[in-house]
């Protein structure tokens, strides 16, 4: 029983990261209907910026908040310089631009900070002795902090999207930008805000998980695959759905990888993709995604 609980906790720790990054993907999608494949690399680059801020002597919490601010502004800059000129309907062009951004950020971080892994301090006590014993396993403070921050951010975004005029404007813009513009919504600003929110959330997740992954240019690559799967599974327009799907994905792949003999570690990633495929065949919009209704 203790081992099962340990495996669930291990899966939960990973799932929270998948869900957090999925939330950033949802932010862009809800505001603009675009998929940002550079989301992981933006988070990675932000984590390096947090490291740089910490290295110049800022306290860790200030460095993390600082990189969230930098990420927020950088997201707006990316939208203004790279995305907006392509037009709202240039889906494939935008997808290609995000791939280019992925490559530039990855190579850029390597040039600036080198290839060696760098340590990044945790926001909470994180020595081997810092944990809460729980049915024979150890609940560590940093993953608990990540989970707590994720719940706060998800709730804030849920309230923003669901109960504010700004959220309504974002949903209207994503649904039909032309109609939204006719209604007086400043569509470009809303698009910018979507990118800024996503980049800010991404910066936060990058800085929060860096203590466990260590800072490297490849730290987010795998997470992005799982995050995209989680967002698809939960629904690209559902922040809560994406987070829940990320957590379930993390736990499921860990349990199946541990107890199904022919899966093991080698086929863990395939588990996520099989689950994704199965759900999409039954419910193409994801578990919590909104069905697209067209008037005919």
């Amino acid at each position: 029983m203790d081992l099962l609980i340990a495996r669930i906790v291990d899966g939960l720790n990973n799932g929270v990261i998948y869900g957090f990054l999925a939330l950033a993907l949802v932010c862009v999608y809800r505001g603009t209907k675009h998929l940002n494949l550079a989301q992981g690399e933006m988070a990675m680059f932000s984590a390096f910026i947090a490291y740089a801020l910490y290295a110049v002597g800022l306290p860790v919490p200030v460095a993390v908040l600082g990189t969230v601010l930098v990420g927020f502004l950088a997201g707006g800059l990316v939208e203004r310089v790279l995305i907006r000129p392509l037009g709202h309907h240039a889906d494939y062009s935008i997808l290609l631009v995000t791939i280019g951004l992925f490559l530039v950020l990855n190579a850029g971080a390597g040039v600036i900070w080198g290839g060696d892994p760098l340590p990044f301090p945790a926001l909470v006590p994180s020595s081997p002795e810092d944990y809460i014993a729980f049915f024979g396993t150890r609940l560590r403070y940093q993953p608990l902090l990540v989970l707590g921050v994720l719940i706060v951010v998800m709730t804030a975004l849920f309230v923003l999207f669901k109960y504010t005029r700004l959220g309504l404007a974002m949903r209207a813009t994503a649904s039909n930008p032309e109609s939204a513009r006719l209604l007086g919504i400043r569509v470009n600003r809303i698009n910018s805000l979507g990118w800024m929110l996503a980049a800010g959330v991404g910066a936060l997740v990058g800085a929060l998980i860096a203590p466990s992954t260590t800072l490297t240019t490849g730290m987010m690559f795998n997470f992005l695959i799982y995050a995209a799967a989680a967002a698809t599974l939960g629904g690209f327009d559902s922040p809560g759905g994406a987070v829940l799907a990320g957590i379930l994905l993390g736990i499921a792949e860990n349990i199946i990888g541990s107890y199904v003999w022919f899966v093991g570690t080698d086929l863990k990633q395939a588990v996520a993709l099989v689950i994704l495929l199965a759900v999409l065949m039954i419910r193409p919009t994801g578990m919590f995604g909104t069905k697209k209704v067209e008037r005919v």
């Binding site: 081992l3 340990a6 495996r7 291990d10 899966g11 720790n13 990973n14 990261i17 490559l103 990855n106 190579a107 971080a109 390597g110 040039v111 900070w113 080198g114 290839g115 060696d116 892994p117 760098l118 340590p119 020595s127 081997p128 944990y131 150890r138 560590r140 466990s212 992954t213 260590t214 490297t216 240019t217 490849g218 730290m219 987010m220 690559f221 795998n222 997470f223 860990n254 990888g257 541990s258 093991g264 570690t265 080698d266 990633q269």
Partner: protein, 441 residues
Amino acid sequence: MSKRTPLVALAATLATLAIAGCGAAPGSTEGGSSSDNPAAAAAAQGLGIDLAACPGDVTTVFGPQEKVGLTLPLTGGPASAFATLGPGALAAFEQANATADLPTKFELVQKDDQFQPDKTLAAAQGLIQQDGVVGFSGVTGTANALAIRDLLKEDCIPALGLPAGGTVINDPAYPGIVQTTVPFTLDARVWVEDVNRRFPDGTGIATFIGNTESGKDYTADIAKWMERTGSKSRIVATESIEATDAAAPSSAITTMRNSGAQVLFAAPTGAQCVSMMTEMANQGWKPITYLTTNCASTAFFSAAGPAGEGVLTVQAFKDVNSPRFKNDPDVQAVRAAMEKYSPSADPDNTTAYGGFTYASVFLEAAREAAKSDLGLSRLGLIVAGRHLDFHPPMFIDGVDFTTDGLEDMVPVEAGELNPWSVAEGGFVQGTLYDFEGQLTD
């Protein structure tokens, strides 16, 4: 006979002379097929090289200026880890050119392969066909070297000083490809021998191996040496990890911890070494841990902090950031060479020193070839590379680079098994394991 016949004959004679002139380098005394060069034929035969299948100029002595190729990732994810090999190698070649101890000046041509074997093949083809390189001073990565070895064999082009640890590199069918880094089979042998020494009655071992070509080598070599040394220990848990997986390997550690293993053999990739050590400490699991030589650098262990305490790695190279070698005269000399001849080389980057060392193997082979009957030619380089015995300056004392034809194909067969000490901020000198001449199958 037509009036034009003598002119045609003269033109044909001149053309023949011109072609012959192009084929033989200035001052060359070699050339042609094996039939008119018994020394070349004998040397080639000794390595199983079919000279008749090689291009005719394989025995031609190099001219005063030649190009040497190096493939490595200069863009893409792995570039940040490996691109620094280039400036280090450049320093070695420029230093050799400046000190004029070779009859040929070598120009190092670096080509990006993004660490992808298919791109390595394209880069190597470009280096051979367009740049006209006479050899390779490095092909980074085992899978990458495997991708081009048939191409190199076809053109009888040497590749000496490879930063590729795979056991498959040392294949008698490809004598022109010479490894330089610590081979994974040495890692595995040392680990197994050390466990046999500590636990004569055997113990439980967990393995945590990357799901890569290198990982396959490690798995096979561990099994091979456990069997051959009559080890009484047994593998009680086997966990693997994808090369791109950056998440803390908590699930794998949970499984291995639960297996009751007292020993861990670990060969993950890059930063995974750090997250593995950290996660083990977090879970309170403290087996005797042997970690891949790929992670035997201060950079990885510094990032791991206290979690790296006591973890063992096999080292053949001096770690320039370790207090033990910081003021080592050889390290200082290489640092000075890099600062003088390749200012873009980072003097604190261990990989840059690796690049210098890999290039030094090519250059040492070139020196030996120049002194031999074969002269400094492609065949001369291959033969010299397969019969080298020297101590590269960046190798730890007691570790040499030794090859002996097809009898001893593994150049680096000794290494120190050193534990990391947090208090020292570096690796503490441990036991030297020397398996000289024993690792070739």
